[in-house]
């Protein structure tokens, strides 16, 4: 077998073919931030349209497209990939692994996500984006003219396949690749939440796959699933969509919970209060997340019994979530709290998210839901949980882990300006929307009338949105100007978990010797009980690494080509695309990857550099 180090390659080629989980994590971050900016721009466009009554800035059709793309982009192309970026980079380090279980599939997952996301956005240039909202309810979506919704169906199908692959990869990595001594009950909470999230992905995404398949068959091949005249049933779409869609919000929030748990413990200089209760609560939330999908369907006429069952099941989630909130508060209690930007986002998260939780329980009251449904009250609710929870988590995680991922610390002063602007902008935008909703302003409508008492609050909401936009620009500036802060990046926060035991930037093999884990908060334990360094679980030896591969790009490209064939019903193109995909898969399966070895001498050199 080959012992030689892989040939030196150009930088671009290196990134295109990489199977290193850390580089893949960084690519998820970069792509996620790009789509986040795009989704944010779409949000601002919507808010400009709603700035004044009967304003004509966007036109109704464009508004529908921007609305649809905003929701879809934020959920599938920004929030999830950003979280995946952290998971990819951090989880193997936290469990003391050299790699993930399936490096090749990991890279495939990334490229599928990226191609799917780009495919979705190509629709802007080919005669119109999807316009049936991110929930794509039939018959709105099945009857939508043009090809917008076809792009939605295929773009999400391609990127969804990538997500599923990523989920399976994390599950196997966490189960099989933990360092000696890293029992399940010693895993950091971010790893735990990645684990539960991956379970949710595994069981939620196939339902979406089928929903999208049926919609595609109806739109492109004349199927009759949702065609009432031919016996079809539109509620099937709603069930399939929400069987996926509700767990999806937990797929987003659980990793954020995991990050907050670590960040709060680190900056309170205390062990996380109630570790096992936190793990248990995460599992319960994951389980209940599957039982409550129909709370999105109270008004479709399922009947009072079904409504009541789903209402109670929904409210039950408040219990484990409440446990978590109290554990975070008790971790802070008596701690030596440091107000870094990461921690500020974590602290701001607690009240913001709690408000979103309270309105969630209000929405879950099925009788009251008839009043709130499809008004701005819902918009306010889910932005409080999604921004106050997920996006705050992503920002906290960025400031916390940036030194590990990119080798420089983000500027704290600029970071604080960013934090305050974003926080105030956020509450300004969405707090008033509760009242707009209660006063009857419907959601997903491109305009509102004058003289109904809605003018001032809409204007305030738009001003808040602009503040968030400015804040985001400051964030981007921070990312760029902080690049000189390269001192003290290995363990800048006096960390507790294993990722802080590696040098920054992390060498491609992560750990020269697999660490031996002796306690929860492994590194902290060694700092207190040992000499501050992890004990090694193995002698220093050559390290075997997998080779890079360009095939993931070809597999993803093939599916993208096939999607164009389907969208325009040019089935020759579809076949060509599928041939590319299956051809690349075939090459992969007959060519074995023997990988290469990193010799001890090089590892020693790497250690000396520290």
């Amino acid at each position: 077998m080959s012992n030689a180090k892989a040939q030196p390659k150009s930088v671009l080629w290196d990134w295109l073919t990489t199977v290193d989980h850390k580089k893949i994590g960084i690519m998820y971050m970069v792509a996620g931030l790009f789509f986040f900016a795009l989704g944010g721009l779409e949000a601002i466009l919507m808010r400009i349209q709603l700035m004044f009554p009967e304003f004509s800035f966007l036109g109704y059709q464009t508004y529908n497209e921007v609305l649809t793309m905003h929701g879809t982009t934020m959920i599938f192309l920004a929030a999830m990939p950003l979280l995946f970026g952290f998971m990819n980079f951090i989880v193997p380090l936290q469990i003391g692994a050299r790699d993930v279980a399936f490096p090749f599939l990991n890279s495939l997952g990334f490229w599928l996500f990226l191609f799917g996301g780009l495919l979705l956005n190509v629709s802007w240039f080919t005669g119109g984006a999807p316009d049936a909202a991110w929930t794509a309810y039939v018959p709105l979506s099945s009857d939508s003219p043009g090809h917008g919704v076809d792009y939605y169906v295929l773009g999400l199908q391609v990127s969804g396949a990538g997500t599923l692959i990523g989920g399976i990869n994390f599950l196997v990595t966490i189960i099989n690749m933990r360092a000696p001594g890293m029992s399940m009950m010693r895993m950091p909470l971010f790893t735990w939440s990645t684990f539960v999230t991956s379970m949710l992905i595994l069981f939620a995404f196939p339902a979406l796959t089928i929903g999208l398949l049926l919609l595609m068959l109806d739109r492109i091949f004349g199927g009759a699933f949702f065609d009432v005249a031919a016996g079809g049933n539109v509620v099937i779409w709603q069930h399939l969509f929400w069987i996926f869609g509700h767990p999806e919000v937990y797929i987003l929030i659980l990793p954020a919970f995991g990050m907050f748990s670590e960040i709060i413990a680190t900056f309170a200089k205390k062990r996380l209060f109630g570790y096992s209760a936190m793990v248990f609560a995460t599992l319960i939330i994951g389980f209940l997340g599957f039982m409550v999908w129909a709370h999105h369907m109270f008004t479709v006429g399922m009947g009072p019994v079904a409504n009541a069952i789903f209402a109670v099941a929904t409210m039950a989630i408040a219990v484990p979530t409440g446990i978590k909130i109290f554990n975070w508060l008790l971790t802070l209690w008596g701690g030596r709290i440091k107000f870094t930007v990461a921690n500020l986002f974590a602290l701001a998260f607690i009240p913001s998210f709690t408000m979103g939780g309270v309105t969630g329980v209000m929405l879950a009251t099925s009788a009251a839901n008839y009043q709130f449904h499809d008004t701005y009250f819902v918009v306010a609710h889910f932005h409080y949980v999604i921004i106050g929870g997920v996006v705050f988590g992503i920002f906290a995680g960025m400031f916390y882990w940036w030194p590990k991922m990119f080798g420089y610390r983000l500027d704290e002063t600029l970071g604080k300006i960013f934090f305050w602007l974003f926080l105030i902008g956020f509450h300004l935008t969405f707090f008033v929307q509760h009242f707009l909703g209660l006063m009857g302003m419907p959601r997903r409508v491109a305009s509102f009338l004058d003289g109904q008492g809605l003018n001032e609050m809409n204007l305030i909401s738009t001003i808040g949105a602009f503040m968030m936009g400015v804040a985001f620009i400051i964030l981007v500036i921070t990312l760029i100007v902080s690049r000189k802060n390269t001192d003290n990046v290995d363990d800048p926060w006096d960390g507790r978990t294993l990722e802080w035991a590696t040098p920054s930037p992390v060498p491609e093999y992560n750990f020269a010797q697999t660490p031996l884990v002796r306690e929860l908060d492994a590194l902290w334990h060694e700092k207190y009980e040992g000499d501050g360094k992890m004990k090694a679980a193995e002698p220093l030896d050559d390290i075997h690494m997998p080779n890079g591969s360009i095939l993931p790009i070809f597999i993803s490209l093939g599916l993208t080509v096939a999607s164009f064939g389907l969208i325009y019903s040019t089935h020759v193109i579809t076949v060509i695309g599928l041939l590319i995909t299956f051809g690349a898969m075939f090459v992969r399966s007959i060519k074995e990857d023997h990988g290469y070895h990193i010799p001890v001498s090089e590892i020693k050199r790497g250690k000396g550099e520290r």
Partner: protein, 206 residues
């Protein structure tokens, strides 16, 4: 570290498919994948059950299904599960020839099944059940067709393995591959048993 070279008869461990970390990862990952596939088919079954009486004036299951034909198909697929079990037994005994032979038998049975399925669809089509005829038709062809696509993929996968490894002997690299292919094959059979019950028996009886 010599995971890819053929291992000599006496050193091959009793469960070669799980002997290396790579093998264990494949094995576990594949079980998770099957978990996802279960949700996939459950969604299709749910859709079918919701639409199975929505024939919109077109033909329904009771007008079309031939129990004898479907029964033969079921038997063929169940036999193919058996032959794949024999293949794994031979793998455990380190009889590589036997492994290959039983896998080829599995492929042949799979292809026969597919032949019957094509014939079946052809028949129904000529009796007036097009994909677009009714919601029942769409959901029937989608459920059974997705299963058929899985069978096709399984057959191609196994053939690739058989051709690729026709001469290498059993190794710690290909043992997990054969093993997961057989797991997949069993899964496809179990799904068919559900299709037989939910679609055909219920379609004729209820």
């Amino acid at each position: 570290m010599a995971t890819n070279e053929a291992v000599d008869q006496h050193t091959l461990p009793p469960n070669p498919e799980k002997a290396t970390l790579e093998g264990r990862n494949k094995y576990l990952g594949f079980w998770f994948f099957l978990g996802g596939e279960t949700v996939l088919f459950a969604s299709l079954f749910g859709t079918y059950l919701g639409l199975r009486n929505s024939t919109a004036g077109g033909p329904g299951g009771a007008d079309l299904f031939h129990l004898d034909l479907v029964f033969i198909m079921t038997m063929i697929l169940l036999t193919s599960s058996l032959t794949s079990v024999f293949a794994i037994i031979n793998m455990r005994r380190n009889n590589y020839k036997g492994l290959l032979m039983w896998m080829w038998a599995t492929v042949l049975l799979g292809l026969t099944f597919l032949g019957f399925e094509v014939y079946e669809f052809y028949e129904y089509y000529h009796q007036g059940l097009g994909f677009t005829t009714s919601a029942f038709a769409s959901s029937f062809y989608t459920l059974v067709g997705t299963h058929g696509a899985h069978v096709t993929f399984g057959v191609l996968w196994i053939i690739t393995l058989l051709v690729r490894y026709r001469k290498t002997g059993l190794t710690l690299t290909n043992a997990p591959k054969f093993y997961t292919a057989v797991l997949y094959w069993h899964f496809i059979d179990v799904v068919w048993v559900f299709i037989f019950t939910v679609v055909y028996l219920l379609g004729i009886g209820g």
